[in-house]
């Protein structure tokens, strides 16, 4: 197997020396910019982009692209329940007494408790990925 790494040692491409075209002919590929490397048998080939090659050793390191889209997807999930927060905010803003505020809070927790917990977990996951909710 021939692999290619970026300036940080991250594996960005891999290929065989040849491939078979539609007519069954063996076509030799140009390996310029690649070098030969033998992966361990149990290596997760589908996620090769998440590994760095440092001193000949494979080291796991999440790529920026993966990190970015993970956060984007978490944000998308969070946005799907933003309307509950807005709804709760509107309800609180309409209260005139403390007792009414506490009553609204109690009702929302009873009705949307699981959603609110899920939103917190999503925020925690985003923070864990070193990004803060806006």
């Amino acid at each position: 197997m021939y692999i290619q790494t970026d300036q940080n040692g991250r594996i960005v491409a891999m290929m065989e020396k040849t491939f078979i075209d539609d007519e069954g002919n063996e076509v030799e590929q140009d390996t310029t910019g690649y070098f030969e490397f033998e992966f361990p048998e149990d290596f997760d080939m589908a996620n090769f982009n998440e590994y760095l090659l440092q001193d000949g050793q494979l080291v796991y390191s999440m790529s920026e692209g993966t990190r970015f889209y993970k956060i984007e997807n978490l944000k998308a999930q969070l946005a799907e329940t933003d309307y509950i927060s807005a709804k709760m905010n509107d309800a609180i803003m309409s209260c005139t007494t403390v007792e009414e505020i506490l009553q609204v809070n109690k009702e929302f927790n009873e009705k949307y408790g699981e959603v609110l917990a899920r939103r917190q977990a999503l925020r925690d996951e985003i923070n864990k990925l070193n990004l803060k909710e806006e």
Partner: protein, 595 residues
Amino acid sequence: MAIKASASITLTSYRDIESVTRYYKLQSSTASAPSAPTTNPPSGWTTTEPSYTSASTNTLYLCDLTVYSDGTFAYTPVSKSSSYEAAKEAWNKAQNAQDVAEEASKVATNYMNFDETDGLVVGNLTGDVLGNNVRIDNDSVDIRSGSNVLATFASDLIELGKNAVTSVIDLCKGVGQIKADKESSSDSIFNRLWIIAKKSLILRGQSVDISCTSQHNNPSQEYANSAFGSVSCTTGINEDLGTVSSQSSLSATCVENGDKAIIRAATNGSEGVGSGEIYLTTDGIYGEEGIYMNSSYFGVSTRDSHLTLSSRGIESTTSGYVRIETSDGSTTSAYTFDASKFSSGAPVYEQGTSLANKYAAKSHSHTAVNGVTPEWSGSVAYKDTGWIAAWNSNGTKIKALNKINLLAAVSANGHYGMAAPGNGAAASNDSAWIRTTSAGLLPYKSGGGSSSLGTSAWPFCNAWTQSTIANTFHRYTSSDFSSYVQILIPQKLWSGTMKVGGSATIKNLDKYYEFIFVTTENEQMIGIRTSTSSSFSAYSSADLGSSGGSWVYKASCGVSGTKLTLSNASKHKLLSSGTSHSGAQISIKEIWGVF
């Protein structure tokens, strides 16, 4: 302390030897050796040493008696007398020598005699008549019968069979003989000496000369100006090595005549008989082996009543040709066979076929083909304006080639070109179609890059193919359009797995204007590089169906020379509500290009 004196006396009993006496005992040597005596004096032993008696085979034993002063005695062990044994051995040798001398004296007297006249004669002298004997005198050793000398060996002369011309010298257990006989001719009787081998006789040496100075017993009858002799080889000799049969078949006579040596036929040694035959052969099969003439092999044989010449003496040889030259030796002169000298039935043959039937078409009639009647020029079946033809020996046409059946070559516009065969007097037809074989048309050699179909200055007008045209550009030129025409056949350029940041080096990358990126999810994105720009993007979308929304795929890349670099590759989910979206990086597994 006082010291007391002391003294001691030693008493010794001493025994002296009174006398020593030697005793002898003579007994048969076959008897066991006697034991030492035990009494004094001993019984059967004497004090006197017996003397040796001639021819005695006895053995003398001895031992010594010692008598002591106290009256006791002792004997030494018995031993053989060495002097008696020595005397016995000396007598035996002397007796043997005397016996031998007496026998030698008898032989010398009965079988050998020497005197000053005859020298030493060895033979049986005990009878009244001396039989076969050997005489050795001062000048020779003779083997004789009585006084007749049969053979003599002298310092410079060896004579065998000396006593009679009928003597036979048998050699090597009868394999060969030397003998003599007498032959009578009209004017003389002379002896002949025979050297006879039962099978073959070989004379071998760096040079072997067989010379005959004269076959006449009277030298005065020799021819005045010639040394005359003969070498005679006679067949038909009977097994008893004595009788020459009447079927003697060859006698070759060498006659020295001036500076020439001639081998000529003769029979049974008679000189110059013209009716004799000569065979030159290396064995009994005439002409089957090589014969040298002027340092070269040749063969002449007769078979099936025909004379055959061959280059090594063996018919149908492959080692050389038999050449017929003109009398002056020129190989460039024309040869002429005089037809009148050959049989009309089979004048000259080539590989079993009559040359007359093979080439001489005048003897056959032929049907005109395509209006052209075969014509012949000399012995070659060729007509300059149309025909090459051949007929087999029975006159059947085996091949008739005319220009209708031959692919022609026509020189025009500075090059030779293919042309259809002509018809009749027409030389060729370079306007008709020429089709390939069912397999097709190949370039000069395999591997590519060795031949061109047209050139930039000699382009084909049209090219039609039903399927693949690979690795090829077609250029169309006209007054209003001049560019490369893309043949829309995608070609896989790269295969592997590529993420953002990955790149690939692709030959002729700048020749491709349309690209297809295939993701690891088998989604195909199409991008067009509209000019020689350094970047382009490819897109694709997929409908999510009942779940609503769709995926949008995008890949962006940069191009530099033959290097294509993937700068972005992602997919994005678009929901119908438009309220949210998600995305992910994607991987490219194939890159295809279209000219």
